[in-house]
Symmetry: C2
Subunit: 83 residues, 2 copies
């Protein structure tokens, strides 16, 4: 079976997000002061072949831990969809 994974990797809430801070400031300059607290992370999509959804889940989790997210600074969540 083939699955599509949609992964969000975000900076941990406890940490500063300088890119997000800069964009929050720019919103004000653009005439959108009602936008606050912008945080910027990564959105990753991938395709995976696995015999079961559980297997796909564990492989994607491994990929996140080993390569896609730096768990010292980032948290990740993902969803799997059959394709």
């Amino acid at each position: 079976m083939n699955y599509r994974a949609e992964i969000d990797v975000m900076p941990l809430k406890a940490l500063l997000d300088p890119q997000g801070k800069a964009v929050t400031g720019s919103m004000k300059n653009l005439g959108l002061p009602e936008i606050q607290n912008v945080r910027i992370g990564k959105h990753i999509t991938l395709e995976i072949e696995a015999s079961t959804k559980e297997m796909a889940n564990s492989k994607v989790d491994e990929a996140c831990k080993k390569l896609l997210a730096n768990q010292i600074m980032e948290s990740y969540v993902f969803e799997l969809f059959e394709i």
Copy 2:
């Protein structure tokens, strides 16, 4: 009312995504050859104050068009949640 927007900005399907390509190659080296077609974009969260959900929707769309996404190379989708 306050809303939280969850925005995904992804490179257009028609375009190369060199970062995604590099990560797809690394998956193989990490012992995860079943992972293919990795694409990497941005995930952005923000908070917005607006009188109605329609108003919030139009402001977030404006923010995406003006600042968050480069529509020549990227597409975006977002969802709004009341907070």
